[in-house]
């Protein structure tokens, strides 16, 4: 039993923390890729893709016009008019934490607060501009810390389950968007590239995606094979043992939902279970044959709907 409002803040605190991490991951990959020799057009596609993942192309264009690396990075890192920027996410996470600091352990609260204080300092002292890679590492590290201190210190009650729900619902959403955009980018020559030059490009493209979800080593270990797009898709969508995959995320969503179930949540649980089952019994060839983009679009809709249902069932319940 806990206050609905408290559960709501905890849920969103975790979502924003996870979102900040994923934004950092994607920026990092794009930034690392930009250090490779590549044409301006290819680089452009990368940055454009990053904006479209978060549905931010129009907002960016209105503010900055042309897609250009430095401006995209600043827009996604420190622009507080952009609700998905790292600074905005960390601020929202911290504000949500502050609203319920009494429901958090001292360690969890101090981690959130310290992250917020530090990110302000780093932006102020231009540490991000000096070494973007270092900065993205730091954001990821703070997210690891936040997750670890949560699991390591919070009582294993509803508060923890709502935080976990937020984390994994957000992760499911973010990974799906990443896969969608990155596969879109190479849609034209999806299966195998014509020239050797393109093959080389492909390797970097796919390995960058894997690295963005800490999946490069995992891929090698699981498939013991050269990097093939369909296997990358398999790993990120269907593997239950890949921590950032859609399937693994949905497993967590389903089990945490079960822990907080109430009188009115059975339909929400049913839908979450069904979505999980689609992944559990899914087949990558089948998904690719019917169209990856359509599959992911539908997946995102269903995740979005789950979020709305969780809100309605638990976080803002109607007056009794």
């Amino acid at each position: 039993m806990m206050l609905s409002r408290t559960a709501d803040h905890l849920f969103w605190m975790s979502r924003y923390t996870e979102r900040a991490e994923n934004t950092a991951r994607m920026l990092d990959v794009n930034y690392q890729t930009s250090l490779l020799p590549q044409s301006a057009a290819v680089a452009q596609v990368g940055w454009q893709g990053l904006l479209s993942i978060s549905e931010l192309l129009p907002a960016y264009a209105a503010r900055h016009g042309d897609v250009e690396q430095q401006r995209v990075m600043e827009f996604m890192v420190k622009d507080d008019s952009n609700p998905s920027s790292i600074v905005s996410c960390l601020k929202a996470a911290r504000e949500n934490a502050r609203a319920v600091r009494g429901s958090l352990t001292t360690e969890v609260w101090e981690t959130q607060n310290q992250t917020w204080l530090e990110v302000n300092r780093m932006i102020r002292e231009r540490e991000f501009q000096r070494d973007p890679g270092q900065f993205f590492e730091w954001v990821k590290f703070r997210s690891h810390l936040s997750r670890g201190v949560t699991v390591g210190t919070m009582l294993m009650d509803e508060a923890l389950h709502f935080m976990r729900l937020g984390t994994f619902l957000e992760r499911a959403d973010n990974t799906a968007r990443l896969v969608d955009v990155k596969f879109h980018a190479v849609q034209s020559d999806f299966f195998g590239a014509a020239s050797e030059k393109d093959q080389e490009y492909d390797f970097y493209h796919w390995s960058a995606i894997l690295r963005s979800v800490s999946g490069f080593e995992i891929y090698r270990k699981v498939y013991r094979d050269v990097i093939k797009p369909e296997r990358v898709a398999d790993l990120l969508i269907l593997r239950a043992d890949m921590p950032r995959s859609l399937h693994a995320s949905l497993n967590e969503v389903v089990s945490n939902l079960a822990m907080v179930a109430n009188d009115q949540s059975s339909e929400t649980q049913r839908r979450a279970g069904k979505l999980r089952a689609d992944l559990q019994y899914g087949d990558i060839d089948e998904i690719l044959a019917t169209g990856l983009h359509a599959f992911l679009t539908q997946f995102l809709d269903r995740v979005n709907e789950l979020g709305a249902r969780i809100s309605r069932d638990f976080l803002i319940p109607a007056k009794a």
């Binding site: 206050l3 609905s4 302000n120």
Partner: protein
């Protein structure tokens, strides 16, 4: 200005302490002459601390406070980050020490005073014997803006109205030049600051553990336990295992940290008005498992905002129907509604008489002599002596709405005179006490600064408190205003067995 110090029986004329920078080679050749007995050990220790070490400690304290987020919000203020609506409350490294004997008397006096104030509140909302006895006029009570007619005849458990009282006390020389404690003000509505008392202690133990092994400092950290006990005891008889909540106006309130802190320390929910609703005259909170009955509300929201159906109709901080549920005896509100009628500055002068009237006892703690401008004689005296007096608005709080005569400009005095003449009963005046000072670590080193003390008195089945309270310090040289909104800081307060 600084003539009366806590640490020294006699301050040097220049106000600087003799032991400044005289500690060399680990060997203290320090003069700690004239130090009062209960400060002897500490003064010796302090004399051996290099200033840089103290400075480093202070920086460490600030860093920790910021990380822990012990801040108060300042309305409408923003710094260059746009995040500056939160400020750290300045914490001073040098404790204020009170000998156990003095505290024992003060504690007795506080129990007596708060007991009488609660008796007064019960009386005001029931028989009104004190009016019938001609001690206070009906006009002063019934026409007081803080009098809540909604509370007439309402039963509250144990007849306790102010469960948590913050009594502001200063030390100053009496006519014989001896130090004496005076009650400056009673805070019976939603007194705040207790979290700083606890955090200051935690910080001192962290920064100076050795001091606590060499001094027998009475512990205070069990305050949340006593508070929870008090709140549970205030439940209506129909709630044997009461659910207690803390009601906060929300995270943008200046005392939000304290609300969250106390809720967490007691292990109860921190609710906002939007989390509560009333159904069939019972109060519920909205939870992830449906509605849950609430029995005791430790509210940190003013009366005016508690229930839009009774008080301010636009308030979103309270809960519709709360007063109805309260009057029906289905929920307890701590502090009760309507306690402001007893801590008003126009009622304050009568507290010693209340003690005699209700308890048949002589007051243990002194009031500051007070001129009530509603009386023609007092008004004339006040107008003739404004430059020497402290003049206060009856409804002012937080260090606003007051004139400190000796520190005011001619123009300020004239403005205040006009205001008093226009509405005499809205003002009281008191002589300017030479408030005690306490050595404080400021930019220039250790220097005397004025202090007060706010013990927190809890009334449930019994009246109790943790030893000490919150010491507030006016950080500006010569200033007498200790409120955090006006540049005040805080000190740890030690009740010491010598």
């Amino acid at each position: 200005m600084h003539k009366f110090d806590e640490m020294f029986s006699q301050l040097p004329d220049n106000g600087q302490f003799q032991f400044q920078g005289q500690s060399q080679g680990g060997q203290s050749q320090v003069q700690v002459q004239g130090v009062r007995e209960h400060y002897r050990n500490y003064a010796l220790w302090l004399s051996r601390q290099p200033q840089e070490a103290m400075r480093a400690r202070r920086e460490e304290a600030e860093m920790i406070f910021r990380r822990v987020g012990i801040t108060f919000a300042v309305y409408g203020a923003k710094d260059e980050d746009g995040a500056g609506t939160e400020r750290l409350i300045p914490f001073d490294l040098i404790p204020r020490i009170i000998p156990a004997g003095e505290w024992a008397t003060m504690e007795k006096g506080l129990v007596q005073r708060v007991t009488a104030l609660n008796r007064f509140l019960h009386d005001v909302y029931h028989e009104q014997d004190i009016i019938k006895a001609g001690i206070i006029s009906a006009d002063q009570i019934l026409n007081n803006a803080q009098f809540r007619k909604e509370m007439m005849g309402v039963y509250v458990p144990h007849r306790i109205y102010s469960h948590i009282a913050g009594i502001d006390i200063v030390r100053a020389p009496n006519a014989k030049g001896e130090g004496e404690y005076y009650v400056l003000e009673d805070n019976l509505r939603v007194p705040s600051g207790v979290s700083y008392m606890l955090e200051d202690r935690k910080m001192m133990m962290r920064l100076f553990p050795d001091l606590f092994s060499s001094h027998r400092v009475a512990p205070v950290m069990h305050y949340p336990d006593l508070l929870l006990e008090t709140l549970r005891a205030s439940a209506q008889p129909g709630a044997p295992d009461p659910t207690v909540v803390v009601l906060t106006p929300g995270m943008y309130n200046s005392a939000y940290f304290e609300h969250a802190f106390l809720a967490q320390q007691m292990g109860v929910e921190l609710v906002e008005g939007q989390d509560l609703f009333v159904k069939d005259k019972y109060v519920y909170m909205r939870t992830t498992r449906g509605p849950k009955r609430v029995d005791v509300i430790y509210r940190r929201v003013d009366d005016d905002f508690l229930d839009p159906s009774v008080f301010r109709p636009t308030s979103t901080l309270g809960c519709d129907g709360l007063v109805d549920a309260y009057r029906s005896g289905n929920v307890s509100i701590c502090n009760a509604i309507g306690t402001g009628v007893a801590d008003d500055k126009s009622i304050y002068p009568y507290v010693p008489k209340m003690i005699e009237f209700y308890l048949g006892e002589k007051p243990i703690l002194n009031n500051v002599p007070t001129y009530m401008c509603r009386n023609p004689d007092d008004l004339n005296y006040t107008l003739a002596n404004m430059k020497d007096l402290v003049v206060k608005e009856v409804h002012g709080a937080g260090g606003y709405g007051m004139l400190v005569g000796p520190a005011a400009t001619k123009q300020e005095i004239e403005d205040f005179r006009k205001a008093v003449e226009a509405n005499p009963s809205g003002y009281i005046a008191q002589p300017t006490l030479s408030l005690s000072s306490c050595p404080t670590f400021v930019e220039s080193g250790v220097a005397p600064r004025h202090i007060d003390l706010r013990p927190f008195v809890l009334s449930g089945k019994q009246v109790q408190m943790v030893p000490g309270g919150l010491t507030r310090v006016a950080l500006k040289d010569g200033s007498l205003v200790v409120n955090s909104s006006q540049g005040g800081g805080t000190k740890d307060t030690w009740i010491l067995e010598v």
